[in-house]
Symmetry: C2
């Protein structure tokens, strides 16, 4: 039986070692299920999606509850057109309002409405309860610090090497 098959390509720097594979598998599994559970709880209890909540949260801590599309995208970690589409949808539901900036005619500013702020205030406790229940109740307290440090350094690396722009208030750590 003739097998004129090219060998399968390999990663430039080799496959992940056993410990890395295990870490990666745990990470992938957690994020898939957490995303589903968070979205589901918000839809069921607050009538909003997780993406809604992410936008409201980012605006909720912004100066004047206002941000431009680009700033919002970088803050959350979204692509700009994703923001554009989504805030349009949110504005039809009265959660945010959109309007041109007074200082730059290209810029669109997204502003949290009173209704949006109220929706956020109503949604946040249930969301936090779920996060505590599913994530932190399963996390040994002594691992919170190492987990944080691990993810923060990973995040810094993603900012450095990834394709999306950094948040505007990002200060690169010394390398």
């Amino acid at each position: 039986m003739s097998r004129n098959r090219q060998p399968a390509p390999e990663p430039t720097h080799g496959w992940l070692d056993g410990a890395q594979q295990r870490a990666w598998l745990a990470y992938i599994r957690v994020q898939l299920r957490m995303a589903y559970e968070m979205n589901r709880q918000l839809l069921a209890d607050s009538g909003m999606s997780l993406p809604d909540f992410d936008v409201l949260t980012a605006l909720g801590v912004a100066d004047g509850g206002r941000m431009s599309i680009t700033v919002l995208a970088a803050q959350i970690g979204w692509e700009r057109s994703r923001v554009s589409h989504h805030v349009r949808r949110m504005s039809t539901r009265g959660l945010v309002s959109c309007g041109p900036s007074t200082t730059d005619k290209r810029v669109t500013e997204v502003t949290l409405t009173a209704g949006g702020r109220h929706a956020l205030e109503q949604a946040a406790p249930g969301h936090v309860d779920l996060v505590r229940n599913l994530f932190f109740d399963g996390l040994p307290p002594e691992l919170t610090g190492p987990l944080t440090e691990a993810l923060e350094t990973v995040y810094a690396n993603i900012i450095r090497r990834g394709l999306l722009p950094p948040p505007v208030d990002w200060r690169p750590a010394r390398d």
Copy 2:
């Protein structure tokens, strides 16, 4: 000025403390950007989406490259209808094939095609390179273990308390 406002509700068990908030923020930020970067690299380099890759990966390690919809959903951490929709789409692209089980007429089995396996083999190295570049190159090696342990215990908790069923090969750890 009259303020007849109900006080904003609070979480049943209180807000997250400072260390938890910091951990959570790091986690949320990492997963949003990692998902985007992974999807983008797969689309650009391999012509497939991250969800495609997740399905192919799960089938790639299954007995005979075959799983039922329900098993696949639980393995990945997806809702069943998500699997149903997505494998239908993948099958039109020749990556998987779907057919009734011989043992239970209700069951649909999803099978990795030769084309699907080939696509997976072609895509995996680039994906691993990206994961290494963005995630592991930013992770201090001595934190791999604690990160893994943290996420594995969180995952076990999500399985226990979340709404999606566990993977079929899930063995509950002693509590």
